[in-house]
């Protein structure tokens, strides 16, 4: 399939970049010219070839560099990966889901061989060759969730289901949009969503929870979330806010195109077979404004979305202070022409 992995950084000199192909397959999250919270979930079924939806777990050109960045975050702060004691089985469920998906979808990169509970996993890009016993923690160098999520792009949380609620009780969270696993672990669905403006009043969380409690094994769903990030920093954690916060004060008309990034999370939800927990992979895609506007439809539409976004949402997402600068920049790419429905780029 000819995937070549970028050598790039998400910190320091920030050499992260998207190839032209990566720009075209970017999951632009807006299917219309405005945005408001809604229960935006659809079946996570395989999408067109080449898109980020083609496979259950997308592996792209950033894979190896993202895994290096994750290792750096974990070395600095082991609390970014936590699992309450009763969540180990869900960790095995997740390991199985990821290994089976990747071995099926990317046979030239990953292999999984099973002989009863004796499993053999090969991750070629990361040069890992591991034999282990499924469900026996002592045969892996980390717990099952940590082991597999050190080899999978995106954050992951595991929710136990009881008392008609979901409880966030395990997670690998190093590429988060400003929330703390260490603080939120153990909370219920409405508690961890408490800081979100407007959506509670709109009934979004009541309806989303009701839907998720009935999620079936083998019928995963997906949704988008998005925000803005200055510089391609994956680790915008509250823990490190004093480190990255000052960059929000550095945006100027001259640098907004090269430093401001649209940050899109492709979130999927999977019922797990043994534990009955729900796995929640949160895959983060970054794109610089000046990369994004190379797709005319996206430049036009992003201008309108950002210009008209309710102030509560822009404040919550942390870009209200830079909104005017962003809108001025994007306005140059909006000729006022109508945009076509859906998020796909227009054919050239």
């Amino acid at each position: 399939m000819g995937l070549t992995f970028n050598t790039e950084t998400f910190r320091g000199d920030f050499t992260f970049h998207n190839s032209p192909a990566a720009i075209r397959r970017f999951p632009f999250p807006f299917d219309r010219d405005d945005y408001m919270y809604s229960v935006n979930m659809e079946p996570h079924v395989p999408g067109p070839k080449g898109t980020v939806f083609e496979h259950n777990f997308d592996v792209d050109e950033h894979y190896l560099s993202e895994m290096r960045d994750r290792a750096l975050v974990l070395a600095e702060d082991p609390l970014r990966c936590q699992s309450l004691p009763h969540m180990t089985l869900a960790g095995w469920d997740l390991l199985e889901l990821i290994m089976e998906s990747k071995a099926r979808d990317y046979p030239d990169l990953f292999e999984l061989h099973k002989n009863g509970n004796r499993w053999h996993w090969i991750n070629r890009p990361m040069q890992i060759d591991q034999s282990f016993t499924f469900l026996d923690e002592t045969t892996l160098p980390y717990g099952p969730m940590e082991y597999i999520t050190r080899q999978a792009q995106g954050d992951f949380t595991l929710q136990d289901q009881r008392d008609d609620n979901l409880w966030i009780e395990a997670g690998m969270v190093t590429t988060q949009a400003d929330w703390s696993l260490d603080f939120d672990i153990g909370m219920g669905f409405h508690e961890w969503h408490a800081p979100v403006p407007k959506a509670h009043e709109l009934g979004v969380f009541d309806r989303a929870l009701k839907f998720l409690l009935k999620l079936q094994h083998g019928a995963p769903v997906r949704r988008f979330n998005w925000t803005m990030t200055v510089d391609p920093l994956l680790d915008t954690s509250p823990e490190n806010y004093p480190v990255w916060g000052p960059t929000r004060a550095m945006i100027t008309p001259g640098n907004v195109g090269s430093r401001m990034h649209l940050r899109v999370e492709l979130q999927t939800l999977h019922r797990l077979p043994r534990s009955n927990a729900i796995a929640f992979p949160i895959r983060c895609y970054l794109i610089r404004f000046d990369e994004l506007v190379t797709i005319p439809k996206w430049g036009r539409r992003l201008h309108r979305v950002i210009r008209d976004l309710p102030v509560e949402l822009a404040t919550y997402k942390g870009f209200e202070r830079n909104r005017a600068t962003m809108v001025d920049y994007l306005a140059r790419f909006d000729d006022g022409a109508p945009t076509s429905p859906g998020w796909m780029p227009d054919p050239e």
Partner: protein, 206 residues
């Protein structure tokens, strides 16, 4: 003085009720400061059940963070077991033991400040008590127990917003986002984006 009425807030912020007698095999009451008055009211409202309630009551009481010490009032209730503790920290092992020994029918009553209620509630949950076996009533100081999201240190009895983290020294604003596992609100650096631009520390919790 009666129970504290807090303004409406976000969904993670705890809400408190009013203690009411419930039949049980053991009544564990933990209170600090003005929480003493909530226990007095609980007993008064129990009416004819009061003698039975007190005969099976174990009270752990400590002065509040503002210095209020109503030990004599609580002791005068005449519970089967009364223990005065100088602080929550010094009461914690005793509390754990009582919870660990508890049988079916234990009722837990927590009254006083949020720091006390939150920490005692956490112990009750850790001991596996069903949620509805624990009642809470807020009385007295509204000072907060806050975790610094940066250094993870917990500052007790925070009165101002923002405040200075007792551990790392960053100036933090106090969110209503609350973790029951940590029994703490979240504190976030207020001048992260504009270092040095710190607004005055305003007394918000008294």
């Amino acid at each position: 003085m009666t129970k504290t009425d807090f303004p409406p807030s976000i969904r993670s912020r705890p809400v408190y009720g009013e203690l009411a007698y419930r039949p049980g095999s053991l009544h564990l009451m933990v209170a600090d400061g003005e929480g003493a008055n909530a226990l007095v009211d609980l007993v008064a409202r129990a009416g004819a059940e009061a003698p039975g309630l007190l005969a099976r009551a174990h009270i752990i009481y400590m002065p509040g963070p503002n210095g209020t010490d109503l030990s004599a009032v609580v002791q005068a209730l005449g519970a089967a077991q009364f223990h005065r503790s100088p602080s929550y920290a010094s009461a914690e092992l005793r509390l754990r033991k009582v919870l660990a020994d508890a049988r079916m029918g234990l009722q837990v009553y927590l009254a006083g400040t949020e720091g006390l209620i939150g920490q005692a509630q956490r112990e009750a949950m850790a001991a596996g008590l069903p949620h509805d076996a624990v009642q809470t009533e807020h009385r007295g100081a509204t000072v907060r127990r806050v975790q610094c999201v940066h250094c993870k240190g917990i500052t007790e009895n925070v009165r101002t917003d923002p405040f200075v983290c007792a551990h790392c020294g960053l100036t933090l604003f106090v969110r209503d986002h609350y973790s029951r596992r940590l029994a703490a609100f979240q504190g976030v650096n207020i001048d992260a984006e504009d270092p040095g631009k710190v607004p005055p520390l305003v007394e918000r919790f008294t």
